[in-house]
């Protein structure tokens, strides 16, 4: 086990940030910590890294208790925090060299590692640039390079793609997968469920300082009652259609807005076929048809009654 957290409790002036929070991260996995803002993800990471004191519970990293002076453990960890933490006064190369130098004293070896990190995040052209000359995406890549240059076996990324353009986000996610392929265990926190779904092998969903669901994405989706969501474009809509659609077996909800009929099904076979058969039988003309499997948002919605996506939109 790379990380083992048991019954962690952290309070801020009476407010519970972590409420008996527990998790285990296995070697070689990309572990996702998914939850809305304020759910306790960053607090959990800060406690794991010994940046925060906690009120109760235990934290072990590589089988040993994690404390502020556990320097041997820290040597194996790379961190990429939510906010870009680099020196504005140092160039791209100097920044990576500085942080790598905190772990690797040997100058020759460090030079090689810094070059590798620059190549990895594709910042070669910008190596002599000061951070303020970099775009938001490039800055995030520099932030990552500073965290991984020393080749840690455990990489903790706390929302590394906040306010990043889609192209840079894609590169960052690909990079994380590659780091994992090269042997690093990754802990990835985000409120973007698509990212977590795309790269994480196991996911813990957090809300109000607790892990409310844990498993692979399929296991999580298997926990809920919802099946697919079907969207059908309808041009000749009449009000009684909706009532009849809602009475079709397995349909949980059905709504019609802007020429689109959106129906959510519970798990079952041939749900789409049954709906289309009904529409044909009523000779209703249809346009585009989409069918989407349940998402982690559906999982969060079903467990908490709130939309995870709404939180994400709120911060963008």
């Amino acid at each position: 086990m790379v990380i083992k957290v048991e019954n962690l409790v952290k309070r801020y002036d009476g407010l519970i940030a972590l409420d008996h929070f527990s998790l285990e991260v296995r070697e070689g996995e990309i572990f996702g910590l998914l939850g809305p803002n304020g759910s306790g993800k960053t607090t959990a990471i800060n406690c794991i890294l010994s940046l925060l004191k906690y009120d109760k519970g235990t934290i072990e990293v590589y089988g040993r208790p994690m404390t502020p002076d556990a320097y041997d453990i820290k040597r194996n960890i790379g961190i990429i925090m939510q906010n870009v933490a680099v020196f504005d006064e140092l160039t791209v190369y100097e920044n990576i060299d500085y942080f790598c130098g905190l772990y690797i004293p040997d100058r020759k070896k460090r030079k090689e590692l810094v070059e590798e990190a620059i190549d990895f995040v594709e910042l070669n052209k910008f190596r002599n640039f000061l951070p303020k000359k970099l775009s938001g995406g490039l800055l995030r890549r520099l932030n990552i390079a500073c965290g991984i240059a020393h080749k840690p076996s455990l990489i903790i990324l706390d929302e590394p793609t906040v306010a990043v353009d889609p192209q840079s986000r894609k590169k960052i996610l690909e990079g994380i997968k590659e780091l994992n392929k090269n042997g690093a265990t990754v802990v990835y926190t985000s409120h973007y469920m698509e990212e977590v779904e795309e790269i994480c092998t196991r996911i813990a969903i957090m809300d109000k300082g607790k892990v409310i669901a844990l498993g692979t994405k399929d296991e999580l989706k298997g926990m809920i009652h919802s099946g697919e969501k079907v969207t059908i474009e309808i041009f000749d809509y009449s009000s009684n259609i909706l009532e009849e659609v809602r009475s079709i077996p397995h349909i949980i909800t059905a709504e019609y807005t802007d020429n689109l009929l959106v129906a959510r099904f519970s798990k079952g076979k041939n749900n789409l076929g049954v709906l289309l058969d009904y529409l044909r039988s009523r000779q209703i003309e249809t346009g585009r048809i989409y069918s989407e499997p349940p998402t982690l948002n559906d999982v969060f919605l079903e467990i908490t009654g709130k939309e995870l996506r709404d939180y994400a939109k709120g911060v963008q």
Binding site: L49, S50, L51, P68, M81, A85, F87, E89, L90
Partner: protein, 388 residues
Amino acid sequence: MQVYKAFFRIIQKNLLQIIIYVFVFLAVSISLTIAGVNPVQTEFTQTKISMAFFDYDNSSLSLGLKNHLAKTGRMADLADEAESIQDALFFREIEYALRVPQGFAEALMSGEEAYIEKISVPASVSEVYLDNAVNKYLNTARIYISNTEGLSQEELADYIAADMEKSAKVEVNREIEELTLSQKAGNHYNYMAYSLFAVLILGVSSVMLVFQSQDLKNRNLCSPITLRNMNFQLILGNISYAVLAWMVMNLPSIFMFGSFMFTAKGLLLMANSLIFTMAALSISFLISILVTSPGAVSAAANVVSLGSSFISGVFVPQELLSDTVLRISSFTPAYWYVKSNNDIAGMGEVTAMSRAPIFNNMLIILGFAAASFTIALVITKQRRIKKQ
């Protein structure tokens, strides 16, 4: 030594601002030194005193006395009337009036008591000065009369006139020259207080502000470098920077004052500035903990350095500052630093006794350094506990 290296890279980025402060100091100090301006320097210019001389004797001796006094006085044309003499004295048209009565020379030559009358501005410097000149003339006459037989009035007047012409050759001795040099050096070191303060606050705060940013701090805390090692490198960086700044500030004084800087007084001035550098460093460290933005760093550098310099006698001599101002400024290290500089500059000879107050002042300055550093550490610890 990653932290140490990063410290100086950040300093390098603020170098232009730092150089401006050093340049301003050197420009002010060098130009004032070359111009020879010294706020406490005393100058001597010979002036002539206006006087009236009423000669009712008309003898060779009275004429000789008049000629002798004319060398140091300016003879005014005035009627010998009590009212006009009093008016002239009141309006300072004259400061001294001398009346030689008839028979004065004869009485003097025969060894009888000879009188001359004077009216002057009471208790004035010119009165003493002209009294001395008259006495000098008459005493010389008496010496000749009592020691030379058969001397005529004309011969006596000639002898006295010849004697009065004689002057002693005066050479400016080395002690006086050194006093001027040490005063110049003292002033130079006084001005240094302002620049040292500004340069240290600016440099130290700029670097500490970066290292105290929460995100960078967290990243450093997650690394395997021990907190003790990191603090050691930061403190070493601060001390290196302070010593470097002190050396840069002291180097021109060696060019300006040459071998004087290697005399006891020169070395005391340098030691005093080094002690002050340590206090300024500690205060800069405290300020760096209190300020939260680069803008605040510039403001603090100006307010603290200029403020303490003005009230401590860096730009205006302490003698000209009021007691209240001096009492307030005694709560700053700059006051004790300037006080020591003035004491060193005004010292005739460096002895164990004359050194003692300087060392006492140095201890007080070190006390400021220790107090500021302690307060900074307490604040840091309190904040760390609060954050966790």
